[in-house]
């Protein structure tokens, strides 16, 4: 028994070492290691009214986030305790019954979070950030839940199918399967996003120059029409290999942002592609998937293993709790990648002035807090704070001035 325990411990250490090496490789960044960001005072960059508005807006959203998260955990805890009763509503086999229990769990989460979602929508509409109607929100939410059900069933079919065949070691095959699915979704997402080509010739020429500078080859720049649902500006880089593209929300092109600021946005998104951030996202997902599925398998053993429908309600709770525990780490990783894209943008455009102007404009347009509390920063911020982004632009300007 001792030898076996020793072998297990050695295996665990080896796996931890592999995990650490992989994490180290994925963490590698173009942002200079000694770069120190100055702590800036938001009052130097924003008016008192702007800071008050963003603090008020964010404060309500924070409460909604906490309320929604608490409701989700409490709802799923109750479901983990009593949800197995719904198994009698199934005439399907164990996997089908597991699917039903999984879907009902998601439905419960949807129901308990709905009031918070509606309240948040009310708040956003009140601040003219969202134009979505309440009926549209409810129906859209309803159909989105249907989409979640389909993917949940696929996931449960994989997990339960493997668990029934492999028993305890299902997670070792399920994790790669989920990584494969994540890769597939990363590839097909651009094809599922409704977009149109960017018509602005000046911006297209600018994007081409930035693509050449960052060495990413030809990447299409598309526009997604969102102006009828939100006024928030946003852009994203998506896809891998031939599906790579940059998508700008049309709210960025409504005249509120100057060409110089749009150049920063484009360079930032192209920076994501240049630094293979989508691949890195999948890599990080893989690093979390293995221990995550292992812990899930461990928890499910209390209910007979993941092959049994009775384990599904508990597994949903465990999954959500694990997700919440991993949230600070995942946000840190996301902020790290975003910071690198910001740095790539500064390095490509050599324009910290426009970058600063862009980040300053985000406060009145998104009502984001420029310097949120530490708790919000850890749990909710997946981008560097606006003050951090301005500080980086400032640091770049200083380093550029010092370099020969």
């Amino acid at each position: 028994v001792t030898a076996r325990s020793g072998a297990r411990a050695a295996l665990l250490v080896a796996l931890a070492a592999i995990w650490s090496v992989a994490a180290y490789v994925l963490w590698e960044s173009k942002v200079p290691a000694p770069l120190r960001l100055a702590h800036l005072d938001p009052h130097d960059y924003f008016t008192a009214a702007q800071l008050r508005a963003s603090a008020s807006f964010s404060s309500f959203n924070d409460w909604m986030w906490w309320g929604s998260t608490a409701a989700q955990v409490v709802g799923l805890a109750a479901y983990a305790r009593y949800g197995v009763r719904w198994a009698r509503e199934s005439a399907a086999g164990p996997i089908g019954t597991g699917m039903l229990l999984g879907m009902l769990g998601f439905a419960l989460v949807w129901a308990v979070q709905l009031p918070f979602g509606v309240a948040e929508l009310w708040w956003q509409r009140r601040h003219h950030v969202s134009q979505v109607g309440y009926a549209d929100y409810l129906f859209g939410n309803w159909f989105a839940l249907g989409g979640q059900f389909v993917f949940l069933c696929l996931a449960l079919a994989i997990v339960m199918g493997l668990a029934r065949r492999l028993r305890r070691s299902w997670w070792a095959l399920a994790a790669p399967a989920f990584v494969g699915l994540a890769l597939l979704f990363a590839f097909i997402t651009p094809y599922l996003t409704p977009v149109h080509r960017l018509h602005d010739q000046q911006l297209r020429a600018l994007a081409t120059r930035l693509e050449q500078k960052e060495g990413v080859g030809r990447v299409p720049v598309d526009v997604q029409a969102v102006h009828d649902v939100t006024s928030l500006p946003n852009a994203e880089a998506m896809g891998i290999g031939p599906s790579r593209r940059v998508v700008l929300w049309d709210t960025l092109l409504d005249g509120r942002f100057s060409t110089g600021e749009l150049k920063i946005v484009l360079a930032h998104e192209i920076g994501h592609l240049a630094r293979h951030h989508i691949w890195k996202d999948v890599g990080w997902y893989a690093l979390f998937a293995f221990p995550g599925t292992f812990l899930l398998a461990l928890a499910a053993r209390r209910r007979g293993g993941m092959g049994e429908p009775a384990a599904i309600p508990l597994s949903l709770l465990v999954l959500v709790v694990l997700g919440l525990l991993a949230l600070p780490l995942q946000n840190a990783i996301s902020r790290h990648l975003e910071a690198e894209a910001d740095w790539m943008s500064l390095r490509t455009t050599h324009d910290p002035r426009d970058a600063t102007a862009l980040f300053r404009r985000f406060v009145p347009t998104t009502l984001d807090e420029p310097d949120p509390s530490t708790l919000d920063y850890l749990l909710q911020e997946n981008h560097p704070t606006i003050m951090q982004r301005i500080a980086m632009a400032k640091a770049y300007a200083t380093s550029a001035a010092q370099s020969p």
């Binding site: 509503e89 199934s90 005439a91 399907a92 086999g93 439905a107 309803w142 249907g146 059900f149």
Partner: protein
């Protein structure tokens, strides 16, 4: 379940006179004019009846008789128009003188609140009646309300198909006749409710409406299971459409393989005269699975179904025959031959959809499905399964449009006519 006071009497012998069938619509013109005038008077009479019933609690005998005559007249006219009966009807709704007739109750006390809200309470029945067809459906044209002998999807399809069949054979197929009679019966119950003849809500149950009608011969593709389990879980009812989504996705993916399997089976059946057993089994499982999914989706059954279409795994199940010899002509021309059945199936689809919507509300409130709507939905699902089994070469027996489940021993009065 108490018997509904409005009953359908079917004494039709299925025989049709080819000449009157050919000119049916033109022959009905005097009736169409008459029904329009009659309906205008009825609108005012109904308002008077509404007020009188509200005040007295019971409809006045004279107005009640007038309403009954109108309902019977519309039933006769609809039966004639939709080829559910053969003889030319009278103009005043004579009782007991037409092969498709309606018996109506005498004036009886009615709860005042039901009377007061009657038009709103009747709306679901009016919509369902419109989907099934028959008289009294209220339609809207250019924003103006019109009342009178309306047309429904099922009745219209029955009439068009019955017209061709009757011209060729000189008799109406029993399945189509029964479907048409059911539509007429339901519409009459709806009108009786709307016009304050009775306070009893229309009963959509085809087996109750066609109680005295002989059952058709047993079809090789038929429903089995416990129809009396009406319990419905409120949570799964509320999320029913979403819970069915994974099944619908799987159904579509499976259907892609079914297309190739059926093409292959078509060639096999044409050459050997009998479908290939593995392909037959594969297609049968898909049709059974489709029934399970639709029964779940449309609230005809309660539990979440499995994904394999395995026989005996679901409370509402399908019996599918083993591969048997099939007529090569019927096999070769299967798609065009199936078109009438597909048309009836589409018409029944509307009724099925409405039935599911109503059942959704009722099941959410009561935790159980209404028996009548359950049976209407089961009828639509059975016909859908039979149509698919025919189209996909599981059997060369044509789907039977009768709302009644087939009897093992022929009970119907005209066995030779029971083809369609």
């Amino acid at each position: 379940v108490h018997e509904h006071p409005v009953k359908l009497i079917v004494e039709d012998d299925l025989r049709r006179n080819r000449w009157t069938v050919f000119f049916r619509l033109i022959l009905a013109i005097p009736h169409l004019i008459w029904v329009l005038l009659f309906s205008i008077v009825i609108v005012f009479a109904a308002i008077a009846n509404w007020i009188a019933t509200l005040v007295r609690g019971t409809p006045p005998a004279g107005l009640h008789r007038f309403m009954c005559a109108y309902i019977r007249y519309l039933a006769h006219l609809d039966a004639y128009l939709w080829l559910v009966a053969n003889p030319y009807p009278g103009f005043v709704g004579e009782e007991g003188e037409y092969p498709i007739d309606i018996t109506l109750p005498g004036p009886a006390p009615q709860p005042r609140w039901k009377t007061f809200f009657r038009i709103f309470l009747a709306l679901p029945a009016i919509v369902l009646s419109s989907a099934l067809g028959g008289g009294g459906s209220i339609s809207y044209s250019n924003g103006k309300r019109r009342s009178g002998g309306g047309g429904g999807a099922l009745s219209l399809v029955v009439a068009v198909l019955g017209w061709f069949a009757s011209l060729v054979r000189g008799s109406m197929p029993k399945g189509l006749r029964d479907a048409g009679a059911y539509s007429v019966g339901y519409s009459s119950q709806m009108l009786a409710y709307l016009l304050f003849v009775t306070e009893r809500y229309p009963n959509a149950d085809p087996t109750a409406l066609l109680e005295g009608v002989g059952r058709p011969p047993e079809h090789p593709v038929r429903l089995v299971g416990d129809p009396h389990d009406l319990r419905r879980s409120r949570v799964t009812v509320f999320f029913r459409v979403l819970l069915a989504l994974p099944h619908l996705v799987w159904l579509v993916l499976w259907a892609v393989a079914i297309v190739f399997a059926v093409i292959a089976n078509w060639f096999v059946t044409l050459i050997t005269g009998t479908p290939a057993r593995p392909l037959h089994r594969f297609v049968a499982a898909w049709i059974r699975y489709r029934l399970h999914v639709y029964a779940f989706l449309y609230l005809v059954a309660n539990p979440f179904p499995g994904f394999t279409g395995e026989a005996g795994t679901y409370p509402l199940d399908l019996v599918v025959p083993e591969p048997e010899r099939q007529n090569r002509w019927k096999t070769f021309f299967r798609i065009p031959l199936a078109i009438p059945a597909v048309a009836v199936n589409s018409a029944l689809g509307w009724a099925l959809f409405l039935s599911a919507v109503y059942t959704w509300f009722v099941a959410l409130a009561r935790g159980s499905a209404p028996w009548g709507l359950r049976n209407l939905s089961a009828y639509a699902l059975r016909y859908d399964a039979q149509t698919n089994a025919y189209l996909l070469l599981l059997t060369d027996r044509y789907p039977h449009a009768s709302p009644l489940e087939g009897a093992p021993e022929p009970q119907h009065e005209f066995a030779e006519a029971a083809v369609a």
